[in-house]
Symmetry: C2
Subunit: 157 residues, 2 copies
């Protein structure tokens, strides 16, 4: 691994509770994307059949909740909050589907560090807990979740 | 809504803690699917660049954790545990990425009811909590999570 690559890797010790991560991108939930994602991973009438969706819970077509989550993951990955250090998920807690994501919605993500802690068993790594909030274009929160990411530590250097 | 459709809808009161839901399908995590999903929703080198992935945490290409979750969702939807009643997620708790999913793995899902409870505010609905376990072909657990689904109640009828 070259030195220049190492220079762009970020470590657990560079983050602290209360930090906000910059997530500048947005994701447009186009009708084509709604159909394609639901067809592959969540093939239900509420996501795919406009007529049938009218008689169901939301009263209209809605995007798959998993699609909103996948879009949130993409915005986080594109934001590169850890530079060249990969985003590796250990666990997710307190995930709530707050409101449906509709075809045509544009999603943005906010991310705040809740906690960092060293691994007890492995001095070369640790965990960072983040609170993520996904909003649609009018500001309505649609998804919230807490990610625990596995990060390298620089304590052992 | 026709009577024959209603007959295939399932209600909160038809389930109880300890019930196991039948999830007969499997999902093959082909290299093409790994690339396609990661390209769209988790564009990291650990999922897309074989050479670069060797120098990272898993030491090889792995599927996106979100892809394993989306595959789990698809297997649950295809299993139709609620008949014509849609699967509508309210929240997810205690989600853990237990082991990486590798290109070529075949995933299966087990689902058990943990709890059912009526809504306090709305007599026509309630919640069912499920524990899901996703395993790869050799039986290794790769993902676990608890889904809380929103279900119609037949108390008000």
């Amino acid at each position: 691994m070259t030195r220049s690559t190492d220079a762009e890797r970020r470590y657990l010790e560079e983050f602290a509770a209360g930090d906000r991560l910059d997530v500048p991108g947005s994701y447009e939930m186009t009708p084509e994307r709604v159909r394609e994602f639901a067809g592959a991973y969540d093939p239900q009438a509420i996501h795919l059949d406009e007529e049938a969706a009218r008689g169901e819970f939301f009263g209209r077509l809605v995007a798959s909740g998993w699609h909103g989550l996948a879009a949130t993951a993409r915005l986080m990955v594109e934001a590169r909050p850890l530079g060249n250090t990969p985003l590796i998920g250990a666990s997710i807690d307190n995930l709530k589907f707050l409101a449906p994501v509709l075809p045509g919605d544009v999603l943005r993500v906010e991310a705040e560090v809740l906690e960092t802690r060293a691994s007890r068993s492995r001095p070369d790594r640790g965990f960072m807990r983040l609170r993520l909030l996904t909003r649609r274009q009018d500001g309505t929160p649609v998804l919230t979740q807490e990610w625990t990411l596995l990060l390298p530590s620089n304590r052992h250097k």
